[in-house]
Symmetry: C2
Subunit: 456 residues, 2 copies
C-alpha cells in the first residue's frame, strides 16, 4: 500500500518548470530529487508533459521505478510513447512490474511488437504476464480495455473467518477494496459482499448464507462510454466485468471512469468548436494546425459555395443591393440556430434522454425555431424600416429570416438524429459542419425568398 | 445497508412511459407497484422527469418513503421543487429522515423558508437536524455544499480492537467506508487509516502507532470545481473537509464529484453552443426559447452592425460588387477561427494547463492563425482567379482573409484569457459571443483592406 506523502493542491508554476529545466541541463541530480521529493506522481507527470523529450527521459531515469511507473501511467499518450522509446527493455520491465495489470497493459500497448515481446519475455511475475496478455486482447474502448485483473474474490463455500484470512492475502495486491465478489466453483459471478458486511458478520457463518445474490456487472465487450454512463447514473465505485458465461474476468474502478468521462466531454467540446484531434494549448503550431485546418477548409468551401449561389442571383443584386448587406446576418443566425439545436440533441442523445419519434422532435423544433424567428424578425423589420424606409425590402429580409431559422433548426435537429441512428457519433455534426450546411442553405433560401417577394 | 435488487442497464422506452401514464390515469396502484418493483431509484427518477407533475407526485405518494427519498434526491431540480410543493410537511419529514445529511440538506434547500422551519421542527433525528442545519450554511458550489456529515472517525488514542467495535457502530450509518479518519482530542484531522490496514493490523496496537499521518483534505470554502479537479487528478474516492482550524467537518465522495464533472462539462458545452441556461431536449418550447433567444439576439445585433458597416463602404460596393459575395465566407472563417482558439484556451484554463505570459500565447496564436490563413487564402485566390479572372479582386479578398483569420485568432485567445484574469468564467466567451465579435471585426477589416487595395 502506498502512503500519501504529498501536499495537494500542488501548484505547477512557470518558474518551477524553468527551474527544473535549468537543474536538468546542469545535471544537478540531487537538487532534482530534492525538488520532486514528496510531489505526487500525477503532478510530476504534468511537469514532464511540459519538458522536452530528453529532459523528461532524464527525470524518469533518475527517479526510482516505483514512482516512475505511476508517472508513466499518467503521462499523455504521445509523450509516454516517446519516453518509452528512450528506455531500455530492462528499465521498462522494472516499471511495468510496479503497475496494476490495467496500467501495465496500457504501457505494453505503446511498445512496438518486437519490444513488447522482449519485455514480456523478461518479466518475472508470471501471473502479471498472464493477466496483461489477456487484457491486451480487448479493444481499448471497451469494458475489457478498462478493467484490471486485481480484485478480491471469495468462493461461496468459504466461511467468514476463512474469507478474512484469504482477503488479507489478496488485499495486499489490490489498492482499494470496493466490493468482495462471490463466485461459485465454475468461477461464475454469483453475488457480492462488502467489507463492512464481513466486519459485522459472525466468523463461523458461510459466505453462501450472507452474500448479496444480485450484483451489477458489465459484459467485457461493453462500450467504455456505456460503462461510464452506468457507473455515473447508479453511483457505483466499482463494477465487475464478466464474459458470456458470467465468468468473473476483472473489475473497473470509478477513477478510470472519471478519466473516460472527462476525455469524452473534452472530445465533444472540441468537436463542437471545430477541432478534429485531441490537442491542448501547449501543443505545437503544427499539431494545432492539423487539428484546426480541416474544419476551416470545410468552412472555406461553404463560403465559396455561398458566393457562387449569390452570384447566381445577379438581377436581384443589381436591383436590390441592400439584400447583400444582410447576408452575413442571415448566415450567422442560421449557423447559431443550427448549433443550438444540434447541441441540445447531441447532449440529449448522450444522456439517453431523447426518446419518441424523430417526427415529433422535428415538429417541436419547428415551432421553437418559428417562435424565436418571429421575435427576432420583428426587431429586424423595425430596424430596416427605420434605417432605409423600404417596406418591401424590410419585409423580404425579415420573412426570410424566419424561414431560414426554421430550416436551420430542422437541419440542426435532423442531422445528429440521423447520424445517431446510423451508429455514427452525433457530436461530429455539431459546430462547423452544421454551421457550414446552414450558411449555404440559409443564403439559398434568403435569396430565393427575396427574389420572389421583391419581383412581385 | 441497501441491497442491489435491480438489473442494470434498465432501458426506459417510450412505451414504458406511455404504459405508466395509462396506469396512473386509471389509478391502478398494484400494477404501478409491480411495474416499478426492483427498478433502481435513479431509473424511477428518470421516468418521473418524463411525467406530468401530478403524475410524478402520484407515484411518489404511492411508493414507500425509503425508495422515494432516494428518487427525490435524484430528480432534476425544477421537477423536485414542484413535487415537494405537492407533498405535506409530514411526508417530507419522512422522506428526509431516510436520506444522508447532504441529500437531506439539498432537499430542505428547495423548500420555502416557512416550510423548511416546519419540516425541521417535526424531525425526530436531532443529530440529522444539527448536521443539516450546519450544511445549509455553506454555499452550494463549495466543498461544504457537497460534503456529507456521515463518515467514520476514530481518535488517535484508541486501540485497533476498540476501533473495530466503534467502526461497526458508525459504519451502519455510512453507505460506503472509504477511509477512516483519525482525529486528535480537539477533533482536528491528523491522519487516516484504510479499512484494509485495520484488517491486517494486530488488535492491541494503538491507532497512534499505525495511522498514516499525511492525509489529503480540502477547505470547507473550496470551490466545488477545484475539488472535482483535485479528486480526478489524484484518483481520490473520498476526501475529508476541514475548516480553518483543521477540524474535520465532513467528507466528499467521488459519486457526488462525478455529478459535478458531468454538470460542468454540460454547462461549458451549452455555453459554447449559445445556450445560456441548463435545458435539455425534453424541456418546454418556452424554457428552450428563454435559453436560446439571448445569444440569438446578440447574433442579430452583430448582423445588423455588419450591415451598417458594409453600408458605409458604398463606393467600393458599387465599383466592386464581387466583394459582397465573399462577406459570408469572411464572416464564417472569422467565426470558426475565433471559436477554435477560444475553445482551446477555455479547455486549457479548465485543466490548469495554460501557463506563461499572455503575450507569448498571443504571439503563438498569431503564427498559428497566419499559417492556417495563408494556406486557406492560397486556395481562395486560385478559385477566385479561375472564376472571375480578376487578379486585383482575388488578391484583395485573399489577403483580407489572412488578416481576418489572424485577428480572429487573437480575439479568440485574448477574450477568454482576460475574462479568466478578472475571475469570470471564460466559457461564456466561447460560441456566439466570439463569433459575433469576429463577424463585425472581420467585415470591417475585409472592407477596409479591399478598399485600400482596389483603390490603388
Amino acid at each position: 500500500m502506498k502512503e500519501t506523502k504529498h501536499h495537494i493542491p500542488f501548484e505547477i508554476t512557470e518558474s518551477l518548470i524553468v527551474g527544473l529545466k535549468v537543474l536538468i541541463d546542469s545535471n544537478d541530480d540531487n537538487a532534482i530529487l530534492a525538488l520532486l521529493k514528496d510531489v505526487h506522481y500525477a503532478d510530476i507527470a504534468e511537469l514532464l508533459d511540459d519538458l522536452s523529450l530528453d529532459q523528461a527521459t532524464y527525470v524518469i531515469k533518475l527517479l526510482d521505478s516505483e514512482t516512475t511507473a505511476d508517472i508513466l501511467a499518467e503521462l499523455e499518450d504521445d509523450v509516454r510513447e516517446k519516453v518509452l522509446q528512450n528506455l531500455s527493455i530492462k528499465e521498462i520491465v522494472e516499471e511495468i512490474q510496479e503497475l496494476d495489470s490495467d496500467d501495465a497493459a496500457d504501457l505494453l500497448a505503446d511498445l512496438s511488437p518486437d519490444r513488447k515481446q522482449k519485455v514480456i519475455a523478461q518479466m518475472d511475475d508470471k501471473d502479471l504476464v498472464a493477466d496483461v496478455q489477456e487484457l491486451l486482447t480487448y479493444a481499448e474502448d471497451t469494458a475489457g480495455g478498462l478493467m484490471a485483473k486485481e480484485l478480491v474474490k471469495v468462493y461461496e463455500t468459504w466461511t467468514v473467518a476463512g474469507c478474512l484470512r484469504k482477503i488479507r492475502a489478496q488485499a495486499k495486491d489490490v489498492k482499494r477494496v470496493h466490493s468482495i465478489y462471490v463466485v461459485n466453483k465454475e468461477e461464475k459471478l454469483i453475488g457480492r459482499l462488502s467489507l463492512k458486511d464481513l466486519l459485522i458478520a459472525n466468523n463461523e457463518i458461510k459466505i453462501i448464507d450472507i452474500y448479496i445474490p444480485k450484483v451489477d456487472s458489465v459484459h467485457v465487450d461493453e462500450d467504455a462510454e456505456e460503462v461510464a454512463k452506468l457507473m455515473a447514473k447508479y453511483d457505483l465505485e466499482a463494477i465487475p466485468v464478466i464474459n458470456d458465461n458470467k465468468v468473473l474476468l476483472g473489475r473497473i474502478t470509478i477513477d478510470d471512469i472519471v478519466d473516460v468521462i472527462i476525455e469524452e466531454a473534452e472530445k465533444d467540446y472540441q468537436l463542437a468548436a471545430g477541432i478534429t484531434q485531441d490537442v491542448d494549448a501547449e501543443d505545437s503550431i503544427l499539431a494545432l494546425t492539423r487539428a484546426r485546418l480541416p474544419w476551416l477548409f470545410l468552412g472555406l468551401l461553404g463560403g465559396v459555395g455561398a458566393a457562387v449561389i449569390m452570384g447566381g442571383f445577379e438581377t436581384i443584386i443589381e436591383d436590390f443591393p441592400m439584400i447583400l448587406l444582410f447576408t452575413p446576418l442571415i448566415a450567422a443566425m442560421a449557423g447559431n440556430v443550427g448549433v443550438q439545436s444540434s447541441a441540445i440533441i447531441v447532449q440529449g442523445l448522450a444522456n439517453d434522454e431523447v426518446r419518441g419519434s424523430v417526427n415529433n422532435r422535428l415538429i417541436k423544433e419547428m415551432f421553437l425555431a418559428a417562435l424565436n424567428g418571429i421575435i427576432l424578425a420583428l426587431f429586424l423589420f423595425v430596424f430596416i424600416l427605420a434605417w432605409k424606409q423600404d417596406f418591401g425590402t424590410a419585409l423580404a429580409i425579415s420573412l426570410s429570416l424566419v424561414v431560414v431559422i426554421i430550416v436551420a433548426g430542422i437541419i440542426g435537429t435532423f442531422i445528429p438524429l440521423s447520424l445517431h441512428k446510423k451508429g455514427i457519433d452525433p457530436a461530429i455534426a455539431t459546430g462547423p459542419f452544421i454551421t457550414t450546411c446552414n450558411d449555404i442553405f440559409g443564403i439559398l433560401i434568403y435569396f430565393s425568398i427575396a427574389k420572389f417577394i421583391l419581383n412581385i
